[in-house]
Amino acid sequence: MNLNATILGQSIAFAVFVWFCLKYVWPPITAALADRQKKIADGLEAADRAQRDLNLAQNRVAEDLREAKVKSAEIIDLATKRANQIVDEAKDKAREEGQRIIAGAKAEIDMEIQRAREALRAQVAAIAIAGAEKILEKSIDQAANEELVKKLASEL
């Protein structure tokens, strides 16, 4: 084991290398490392934030959907009610119309009956008189008997 000037040479070389490393190698590499660390941290944070935003948005969408469902159910309900109402109204109207038609027809029938009765009455009077004339075979004072026949006819 002999120590010689190599030890000095190595020490000097070592000092120079350390200085070089300190000056030109270490700072850019560690700076890049730190920079990347920061970037990654930022990225993770951004991802977190995005996740949170997404959750919020999803919640809001779910809320909106629920609301829309409720509202649509209400609308359908209302529409059904309205439709029923309209149907009911139409039914009522139809019934009324039918009744009116029936009533009209009845009145007409009544009128016809009346008219027929009148005609019949008139004819019965004439028949009765003719019958009476034939029975009596003589002319009776038409005026005197008219009264009697009319009375008979009205009793008919």
Binding site: N4, T6, L8, S11, F14, V18, Y24, I29
Partner: protein, 287 residues
């Protein structure tokens, strides 16, 4: 193997295993030769005769080469680093930087811009050097011998098996520890730690006897732990290299195990550096 190739280079021959290992342990050493001139040592005796003012050319060359390799790669990545989606290379570099950053954060509690780059440099550089241990033991020396056209050239491929290299790291860390201790706690505070801990001021000599060796042991243990592990690992590779055909599965097995060691040692060096510097930045709790 005596058959010389066209360039006149012949493969090195060793008369014994001892010589093989001894040759592999030799350094390509530049310094003052016994005759007074300066040059590369050709024998281990010549190398040993050189004083302190000599240098291991192979260790320094490999160390700088590997240093430039990983630092160049890191620099290349840091030029076009993006905080967006990283490419494969950037991913790998970021993995290392982040690993170092995490360790620094969990171990170092003061604020100091230097610690991160320091730890990163230590880990990557030492790992790269240790990695040379996994290159088959003869390849790099042989390559150097071919390049130099000298089949007796010493060339040590793994810089961390050179105690000078590990001690260079440890010494630098030790100087930083002293520098920051004095800077943060003041000279008095720093020296006071030796004098008044762990037993209070009435046991001052005992404190000194306990604290000073433990303080000085830090760089020594730092340097020798790495050196010892790598040296032993390489030695085993060399021994395996001498057993003939069976060396292939053995090499594989030891290399797989060694991957663990080289990573662990680089990591350990880095962590201990961070721990020592953290101690330099914090006052010990009162006793």
């Amino acid at each position: 193997m005596a058959d010389a190739n066209t360039t006149g280079f012949s493969l090195p021959e060793y008369e014994s295993g001892t010589e093989y290992i001894a040759h592999h342990l030799g350094f390509l050493k530049y310094g003052q030769l016994p005759n007074g001139s300066w040059g590369i040592a050709h024998t281990i005796e010549e190398a040993d005769a050189m004083g302190f003012w000599s240098i291991h050319v192979d260790s320094m060359l490999m160390s700088l080469l590997l240093g430039f390799m990983f630092m160049g790669l890191f620099y290349f990545v840091s030029r076009k680093v993006t905080s967006g989606i990283p490419g494969g290379l950037q991913n790998a570099v970021e993995f290392l930087v982040e690993m170092v950053q995490t360790n620094v954060k969990s171990t170092f509690f003061a604020r100091n811009e230097l610690i991160g780059p320091l730890a990163l440099t230590i880990f990557c550089w030492i790992f790269m050097m240790n990695l040379m241990d996994l290159v088959p033991v003869d390849w790099i020396p042989l390559f150097a011998q071919v390049v130099a056209q000298d089949n007796h050239l010493y060339f040590k491929a793994v810089p961390t098996t050179d105690v000078n290299i590990t001690a260079g790291f440890a010494l630098s860390v030790f100087i930083l520890v002293i520098f920051y201790s004095v800077k943060i706690k003041g000279l008095g505070g720093f020296l006071g730690e030796f004098a008044f801990h762990p037993f209070g001021k009435w046991a001052l000599p005992l404190n000194l006897v306990m604290e000073i060796p433990s303080f000085l042991a830090k760089p020594v243990s730092l340097a020798l732990r790495l050196y010892g592990n790598m040296f032993a690992g390489e030695m085993i590779f060399m021994v395996i290299a001498m057993v003939g055909l069976f060396q292939l599965p053995l090499h594989f097995a030891w290399a797989v195990f060694h991957i663990l060691i080289i990573t662990l040692q680089a990591y350990l060096f880095m962590m201990l550096t961070i721990v020592y510097l953290n101690q330099a930045h914090t006052k010990p709790e009162a006793h």
